[in-house]
């Protein structure tokens, strides 16, 4: 019995001739992508970790300076702005975005012509950030469409883009740009829930909220978790919209509108007289990366449930 089991195991380990041949070609097929990925991403990333402990202008040899760049970050108000703005995007925008996406998803589920509306709200996601920034400015500036609309009702004008509000305008725009994308992801998750669950629940006399709470949410939970991870990663990369919306004529936006990505740009090659402080920028990027990893791990723990097997 034992030897027979072993025999089976050994046989499985070797697999069929086809499986063995398949395994042999994995290496050659995987290697080019792996090599490119290592050269283009992993090595530069590792180098960035090293550079964050140096004084480096991007073209001379880096000089070791220990943790001074990190010390600097704790005192640098621009980095604090950038980091907290990124958190505002991540959590503030994130919560609003997911509530809105769920609302749209629930509304659209039962609706005729939902594909069209879904496509319509997805549209901003495929348009370039620069074009969206121009449109947002056109909509909200003092002589913009919104104020013209208000004027026809005898209201306004309102300074939507006054400096104190400008970052909020960015937050709203980011929600607007991303809602369609997350509705699509959530919809895909919800679509695979078999309709008979809902039918049965209806027969049992449940209301919409109960059906959402006890069927939709638990059965699409893994999709929500993945979407939350995607959103976390996405927020760190939000950059060109802010630059195009708040910067002007090659100048950087003011630091109260910086995000982590903008900080890296501002400390290196951004603005009309770039600073080329790659060491400090790398330190900022490392701190952000660590924060993202922490958030992602926590998110995965919080949203961890057994996956729905249908």
């Amino acid at each position: 019995m034992t030897s027979a089991t072993l025999g089976v195991r050994r046989g499985r380990a070797k697999g069929s001739p086809l499986a063995r041949r398949r395994r042999r070609v994995f290496g050659p097929f995987l290697a080019p992508a792996l090599i490119l990925y290592t050269i283009l991403f992993m090595l530069p990333t590792a180098y960035s970790f090293y550079a964050s402990f140096t004084s480096w202008d991007g073209f001379s040899n880096p000089r070791w300076k220990g943790t001074l760049n990190y010390d600097h970050l704790t005192h640098d108000p621009a980095f604090k702005d950038a980091f907290f703005n990124t958190l505002k995007l991540l959590f503030g925008c994130g919560i609003f975005l997911f509530v809105l996406s769920f609302a749209f998803m629930l509304l659209l589920r039962e609706m005729k012509g939902r594909r069209f509306i879904q496509g319509f709200i997805f549209l901003p996601h495929i348009v370039s950030g620069v074009a969206l920034a121009a449109f947002w400015d056109f909509l909200l500036n003092h002589d913009g469409m919104l104020n013209k609309g208000l004027h026809s009702f005898g209201l306004g004008p309102v300074d939507w883009l006054k400096p104190q509000w400008q970052f909020n305008a960015i937050l709203i725009a980011i929600v607007w740009i991303n809602t369609g994308y997350y509705v699509t992801i959530l919809m895909a998750g919800v679509d695979r829930i078999p309709p008979y669950y809902y039918e049965e629940a209806k027969l049992a006399g449940t209301n919409s909220w109960q059906r959402f709470r006890h069927i939709t949410l638990p059965m699409s939970w893994d999709v929500v978790g993945t979407a939350a991870v995607l959103w976390t990663i996405g927020t760190v990369k939000i950059f060109e919209f802010i630059l195009a919306f708040s910067g002007s004529q090659g100048n950087l936006p003011t630091t109260n509108q910086w995000t982590s990505a903008m900080y890296v740009y501002g400390e290196t090659i951004g603005g009309t007289s770039p600073i080329y402080d790659f060491g400090r920028a790398c330190a900022g990027a490392v701190v952000t990366l660590v924060a993202v990893v922490v958030v992602v791990v926590v998110l995965r723990r919080v949203t961890s449930r057994d996956r729905l097997e249908l």
Partner: protein
């Protein structure tokens, strides 16, 4: 089940790290140190020029024509690449292995980072080269008053300027025909001028919400150029205690309080305000030499661009800020000889005139007639000049971006009053230097 979930989770985390790393890897570089002391040619038959212009810009047309004339005259081929405004940031990574370009151009400010790293060639020999077909050298056609701003830290010229820019208070000379000849001499005169504009049914000023000129230039008039610089360099922040700083801030605040600025300006950008001003909604607009060419498409019929300088304040300083766009040769350029020959050729009156006639900008040569709309500006630049914005954006770029610019915007848009501007400026400077050290 558990294992597959862990693998799945690990995969998602790995993906998260990888994607975040993509933004990180922007910092990294796989370039290896190479020999920057490349072999130099002395009889190059071609060279590579990386330009700050886009191909369709008027400056590019002027340079293209000069390059064709140069090749016809010397047989040296010019390989032009239109890199755009971020030419220097594109050039920087190539310097490790020997510059990819033999010639580049940008403003003194943008070239500042290369100069600070000693990566630009000494152009002394170019300055003493006689311009082909003329009797003067390159150095002789550049006014002496400009030269202190064209030198590197070793006192050697690093840039051959072909375009000069400055700032002024722009107006429509068809509405204020005598103003250029009789500019306001005091701040009271200036305010009287604004009242006159209001009497003519115009809001006196168009100011963008991210304006830096008003506060900076009024500070320069109050403190003088060195005094302005001290605001950045004095690590104790004591320079901000000078009552003149508060006075300058109060003058700017008063413009806002009095309602001299177009409504809704706090949320506008320069391009909006420039357009509103050109359409005649406001009488004056403080900005740079580029205004006439940029605002022309929006200008009302009969608009005549002209400018004045701000009047003297307590320091008595009436200098004009000056900025330069010009050619620089990277130290590791292989065909510097050919590049310098081209620069000398471009400085010919015949070629350089295109910058004035076609690109409608000022040139450093005083024997080239400036475009009519820049005549007053050109005249102002024949007096004493100072490095534009006191060179703060180069010498103290980080402080300017993070401390001064946001505070200036807070003041001009009324988020802070003058007293708060001073206290924030002082504390911000102290904090900045503490964190920078």
């Amino acid at each position: 089940m558990r294992t597959s979930k862990n693998v799945y989770r690990a995969g998602v985390i790995a993906a998260a790290v990888a994607v975040s790393a993509a933004s990180l890897s922007a910092c990294g570089s796989s370039s290896k140190p190479g020999s920057s002391a490349a072999a130099k040619d002395s009889n190059s038959t071609s060279f590579t020029y990386w330009s700050m212009w886009q191909q369709n810009e008027p400056q590019a047309q002027v340079i293209k024509k000069a390059a064709a004339d140069f090749t016809a005259s010397t047989g040296i081929k010019v390989n032009i690449q239109w890199q755009g405004r971020d030419v220097i940031t594109k050039l920087t990574p190539t310097l490790r292995t020997g510059s990819s370009a033999d010639l580049v151009d940008q403003s003194v400010n943008a070239l500042g980072a290369l100069v600070a790293k000693n990566e630009t060639a000494d152009l002394s020999s170019l300055y003493s080269t006689t311009i082909p077909g003329e009797s003067q050298t390159v150095g002789q056609v550049i006014p002496d008053s400009y030269k202190p701003f064209l030198n590197d830290q070793n006192g050697k010229p690093f840039i051959a300027p072909y375009e000069v820019s400055s700032e002024g208070l722009w107006f429509d000379a068809s509405k204020f025909p005598d103003l250029a000849a009789n500019p306001p001499k005091t701040w009271a005169d200036l305010l009287a001028l604004f009242d006159k504009a209001r009497g003519m049914g115009m809001t006196p000023l168009a100011v963008p919400g991210d304006d830096k000129y008003w506060v900076l230039l009024v500070l320069q008039r109050e403190l003088g150029t060195d005094g302005l610089k001290k605001l950045a360099s004095d690590k104790t922040g004591a320079a901000w205690d000078d009552p003149k700083v508060l006075k300058a801030a109060q003058l700017v605040q008063a413009l806002r309080d009095k309602g001299d600025i177009l409504k809704g300006y706090e949320s506008s950008k320069s391009i909006d305000e420039e357009g509103d001003w050109a359409k005649g909604q406001a009488a004056f607009y403080l900005s740079g030499t580029w205004v006439p060419s940029e605002a022309a498409p929006n200008a009302t019929a009969g608009f005549k661009f002209d400018s004045i300088q701000l009047p003297a304040l307590d320091s008595g300083n009436t200098d004009t800020g000056i900025n330069f766009f010009g050619f620089a040769v990277p130290k590791s350029a292989k065909h510097a000889d050919a590049a310098e020959k081209f620069v000398a050729f471009f400085m010919k009156k015949e070629e350089l005139s295109g910058i004035s006639t076609q690109a409608l900008n000022l040139t450093p040569r005083t024997d080239i007639t400036p475009p009519a709309q820049l005549a007053s500006m050109s005249k102002a630049l024949t007096g004493t000049v100072y490095a534009d914005q006191a060179h703060l954006s180069v010498d103290y770029a980080d402080w300017t971006n993070k401390m001064l610019n946001p505070e200036m915007i807070r003041l001009i848009t009324g988020q802070d009053d003058a007293a708060k501007f001073v206290s924030n400026g002082k504390q911000g400077t102290i904090d900045y230097w503490k964190s920078a050290s």
